[in-house]
């Protein structure tokens, strides 16, 4: 009865060091086991696999063996050099070893009689012992079928390899090719051999935009996050996985108030924004969103804070000129190191790349305030799902850094209405400020209201505001107009107002 008495060993995880991966994997790859990494051509399998070894050497000083069936070692060395991984150096240091089983051009071997892959197994074992490896990559396992024609032998030998890796106690990442993004796990049915743990990489096209995701399909006997997580591949860094839902839960919250840069708006918000809150300002084109953003920056700089402005609609020159028009000198602020303005076309990169760039910008500049003008512009370069993920990711970076976030969103209609931006991110934001046009007696007037202010009392009025050379001035509430937010303003007579007021008075 050995099987019953055998001690149950809990599966421990090997921290991979791949940014974001260990979080979604619940700590890392199952230690001492083989995990199948399956994906279509160009989904980033080889990069992720190479990174698994590279991070092991860099972060944990663990040796790694790369078994390559497709690319020649010389190509791999060159291809990953751009990520800052110097394989050649690691090879001379005895930290990295290749087992080169890439096809030899022009050479085909005749088969006569029985054979097995004993040489291959002993080469892997030799390499593992040679660099004292704890991590092994086999890239890609399906290619063995093209080199060894007898598939029954391949199947038998794959099983032996998996068992050998287990016995040597190494954690292995085995890549496999698949044909469809949503279909069988891998070609040739190789998943049978490394079926305990399966990770899938996808490179989907959604609304003409590429979106890379990683999904942990299963880790037998141990936990992991479920579903697809977006990732990006960046030069100098490699794969970065963006674990969205993760970060949100760890937000801190502050009761410290900061100024919006506009005294009247501070009053409406019950004394200013919270220090680490996310504020969304929504409004139609030309009704003062960028002005509010500018005031928010000036307010921050004046109280000695550092501000980072990410502009996706206007150029530096335009922004600086506009700020000047309202009496704020962005140029001087930048010279003093209090402000950093980054202008980019939204189309310059994918949203995941934007997100990583913003994160790096935050890490480097360490701002107290971050302004994105406008968030709606970024909507263009992504699918709705991707956009929502971007906002969640961005929000979590901000919250972690205890940074005040200020986003603007453009509504498609002049009067009333909401934008896609709002509908998708309103639950993530802490405060929402609406700027609306109000058509009155043949005149376009403007109204501001604080729709939401988490954790604080706020003014519920819709107040009129004007813009002049000194910025925004908030005045009296529109007492006798209804339907401003719905976009169909209508006058209410004084007697009707009194009647409505009396309705709610306690007798």
């Amino acid at each position: 009865m050995k099987s019953i008495n055998e001690k149950v060993v809990k599966i421990s995880k090997l921290e991979t060091g791949i940014p974001g991966f260990d979080f979604i994997a619940g700590g890392g790859l199952p230690m001492g086991r083989a995990t199948l990494l399956s994906g279509t051509s160009g989904s980033g399998k080889t990069v992720l696999a190479a990174q698994f070894l590279a991070e092991g050497i860099i972060k944990a000083n663990e040796g790694g063996v790369f078994v390559t069936f497709e690319e020649r070692p010389v190509d791999i060395r060159r291809n990953v050099n751009g990520f800052g991984w110097d394989i050649q150096k690691w090879e001379t240091m005895g930290k990295w070893a290749f087992v080169d089983v890439s096809p030899i051009p022009g050479e085909s071997a005749l088969v006569t009689g029985e054979y097995d892959l004993g040489a291959f197994l002993s080469r892997i074992e030799y390499a593992i012992k040679h660099v004292n490896a704890r991590r092994v990559v086999i890239d890609s396992i399906g290619s063995i079928f093209t080199q060894v024609k007898d598939s029954s032998i391949v199947r038998m030998e794959l099983l032996r390899i998996v068992i050998m890796l287990k016995e040597l106690g190494v954690t292995a990442l085995v890549t496999a090719e698949r044909i469809e993004e949503y279909g069988p796990v891998a070609r040739f049915g190789v998943e049978e051999f490394v079926a305990d743990n399966v990770i899938i990489l996808r490179n989907n096209i959604e609304e003409e935009k590429r979106r890379r995701t990683i999904e942990i399909l299963k880790f037998r006997g141990t936990n992991h996050q479920k579903g697809e997580y977006p990732f990006t591949v960046l030069p100098g860094e490699g794969v970065i996985i963006i674990p969205l839902s993760a970060m949100e839960l760890q937000q801190k919250s502050s009761t410290i108030r900061i100024t919006s840069g506009n005294i009247e708006l501070d009053k409406m918000c019950g004394g200013g924004f919270f220090r680490d809150s996310i504020v969304l300002v929504s409004g139609a084109t030309g009704n003062g969103k960028t002005l509010l953003a500018t005031e928010f920056i000036a307010g921050g700089v004046n109280s000695g804070e550092r501000c980072l402005l990410l502009a996706f609609e206007e150029s530096r020159e335009q922004l600086f000129r506009n700020a000047n028009g309202w009496g704020m000198d962005f140029e001087q602020m930048e010279k003093d190191g209090k402000l950093k303005v980054v202008c980019k076309y939204p189309e310059a990169a994918g949203l995941e790349d934007h997100l990583i760039m913003i994160r790096d910008g935050i890490d480097k500049f360490k701002p107290n305030r971050l302004v994105v003008d406008s968030l709606s512009a970024l909507e263009r370069v992504s699918s709705i799902k991707g956009f929502r993920e971007f906002v969640i990711g961005l929000t979590s970076f901000i919250k972690h850094g205890e940074i005040a976030g200020f986003f603007t969103a453009t509504t498609p209609n002049l009067m009333g209405g909401t934008s896609i931006t709002e509908t998708h991110i309103s639950t993530i934001t802490d405060s929402i400020i609406l700027l609306r046009y109000v058509e009155m007696l043949g005149e376009m007037r403007r109204g501001i209201t604080v729709l939401k202010m988490r954790g604080s009392m706020h003014n519920k009025d819709i107040c009129e505001y004007t813009i002049d050379g000194n910025g925004m001035h908030i005045g009296k509430p529109f007492r006798n107009v209804t339907g401003i937010i719905s976009g169909a303003p209508a006058y209410v007579t004084t007697s009707e107002m009194e009647r409505v007021d009396s309705l709610f008075q306690e007798k």
Partner: protein, 99 residues
Amino acid sequence: MNKMLFKLYVTGKTPKSERAIANINRICKEELHGDYELVIIDVLEQPELAEEGRILATPTLTKELPPPLSRVIGDLSDMKKVLVGLDIQPYTSTINKEV
């Protein structure tokens, strides 16, 4: 005639290895008449040589000299196929041609 250099890669002393060794010895004796050098490599003992030769399967027989390099995989049970694979004119067949 140039001297031939063969390398036979085997994994330990399995029946397959023994068969391959016996077969290559027979082929060499019957067909090459001493005009060869045969190196037998056990990949369990010298895995670095398997790496160097980029050997995947065992047994594998390689003809290193004269060029070009050629390989035959398996226990070499089919002598004719081995000779074709190694690009060698069989000695016996030049004497009494089979029909």
